[in-house]
Symmetry: C2
Subunit: 136 residues, 2 copies
């Protein structure tokens, strides 16, 4: 079952725009912002509206093809859902980002599940704080 077939099977349509968003995410190595995706698509296809990119990211997220993460405070970053999950440590002073294994976060997830019945998505938001250098 191709992505296109899966999308159609769910009553949605595989449009040029949707394909371009998917491809942009495929090309991106790491997390990428909606604005970057829009810019890279519009470099070749200027008639494609940024709002279309936003809506397609949301649609593809509902289908489970992409997910988003909040690295710093305001920008939403997107990535393909099939790329390996990891956590993020972001320094609030110098802005440095470090990726960490989900196994570091797993004990907390387990505890939240056990004590609160809460299924945490700990890859969704970065952990903010001070890195080794900035903490001094």
């Amino acid at each position: 079952m191709t992505v296109a077939d899966d999308i159609r099977a769910k009553g949605m349509r595989m449009t040029v725009q949707r394909r371009l968003v998917l491809d942009a995410l495929r090309r991106a190595r790491h997390h990428i912002t909606a604005e970057e995706i829009a810019r890279s698509i519009r470099a070749s296809y200027p008639q494609i509206d940024p709002s279309t990119v936003y809506r397609n990211l949301e649609a593809l997220e509902r289908l489970g093809y992409v997910t988003h993460t909040h690295l710093d405070d305001r920008v939403t970053r997107w990535r393909r859902a099939d790329s390996p999950q990891h956590g993020h440590l972001v320094c609030r002073r110098c802005g440095s980002e470090e990726e960490i294994s989900m196994s570091v976060l797993a004990p907390l997830a387990k505890r939240l599940k056990g004590e609160h019945g809460f299924s945490a998505d700990l890859a969704h938001s970065a952990v903010v704080g001070l890195c080794r250098e900035c903490a001094g």
Copy 2:
């Protein structure tokens, strides 16, 4: 040393506007958005511009009087720095919010400090996921 003295000692000024922002945060029971603060101030002092509120929140945060938290994906919530810290669990489906003790998050903070030298501020961002009801 009063707040005003402390602010002056740091080369900043205690203005009417800054005092109003501080008071609004003092009145607020829980986390409050900048927009709510601006609205409550402007109800009595309509000549005070929202941008002034935003800039004062940032200034007061630099001084350590207030901090901000990201509960859901988009809005920034503010609170006085001396109010008790706690973590948040936010359900991405129904939007419910649950406050949890920092002690639940402490083991992770300790591990991030030990393994990565990272001083995590785990009250800064809510943990997103699915609550007991929505997870089924």
